[in-house]
């Protein structure tokens, strides 16, 4: 997956540099928004098909925990990103947008790039791809010292790409919490980014 991402990134950059002009951005925006619609639809189907996981989420005992983890993940990510962004003189709105991607680079970078700024969209892409990539390295390391916080590293990717790593280095219960954490984040990110874009 990582190799595919890197290949798409390199070939796309070279194609844009040698074959396209800035005027072609509008056509690319149309393609991006349509591709995004397909991705969101596919994500919805994936979420809806996991009936057993949704049942486990509704258990009263774990319900508050399931709500607390993504809430803390959101607050921590946004606060941490905004603090560092402010130190680096990045405007607060831009820092909030980059942080609010929560590792879902295919969504956040496209929306920010199409609806706000290519520059902030690029920052969002780099930051959120790095979050996913780093999670493959940091989850095994963090799992030596703790369990639950491992699900926070990947953000939204804890329900898909990072889930096998969480499962391997922690246990099934933490992986379920990780899945639900990613699920809730994935549901909230589109609303959060849209709201932030409206500020």
């Amino acid at each position: 997956m990582i190799y595919l991402i890197i290949s798409a990134l390199l070939t796309g950059s070279l194609f844009g540099y040698f074959c396209l002009e800035v005027a072609h951005k509008e056509i690319l925006d149309v393609i991006l928004i349509n591709a995004l619609n397909i991705i969101v639809f596919t994500g919805g189907v994936e979420i809806g098909s996991n009936k057993e996981i949704i049942k486990k989420m509704l258990t009263p005992k774990t319900l508050s925990l399931m709500a607390a983890v993504p809430t803390a993940n959101f607050l921590g990510s946004i606060l941490g990103g905004t603090i560092v962004g402010t130190i680096l003189s990045v405007p607060i709105k831009d820092s909030l947008l980059v942080s609010a991607g929560m590792g879902w680079y295919s969504f956040s970078s496209v929306v920010i790039s199409a609806m706000y700024s290519t520059e902030v969209g690029t920052m969002s892409f780099i930051a959120n791809v790095m979050r996913e990539m780093l999670s493959f390295l940091l989850v095994p390391l963090a799992a030596k010292f703790t369990d639950l916080p491992c699900v926070s590293i990947g953000g939204a990717s804890s329900m898909d790409s990072t889930l096998p790593v969480i499962l391997k280095y922690t246990n099934t219960q933490i992986a379920i919490v990780g899945f639900i954490n990613g699920l809730i984040i994935t549901l909230i990110v589109p609303f959060l980014i849209t709201a932030l874009l409206g500020i």
């Binding site: 002009e21 560092v84 219960q173």
Partner: protein, 62 residues
């Protein structure tokens, strides 16, 4: 989609000139993002220690 996104960045020569700066900023922001998220969920881990330990115990029994 990533291809189109990269193409959009690639065709913007002005943006490419600033890519180094954007990359450095993004990398540093990721450190803050992951650090903040990890710290917050560590606090949740302590607040819900009993519930989590019970969950882990149930898992061991199964």
């Amino acid at each position: 989609m990533i291809f189109c996104l990269a193409a959009k960045v690639g065709c913007d020569k002005e943006l490419l000139q600033n890519l180094g700066t954007l990359g450095k900023r993004s990398m540093l922001m990721v450190v803050g993002i992951i650090g903040g998220a990890f710290l917050s969920v560590t606090i949740v881990r302590h607040l819900f220690a009993r519930t989590i330990d019970e969950l882990l115990e149930e898992g061991k029994k199964q």
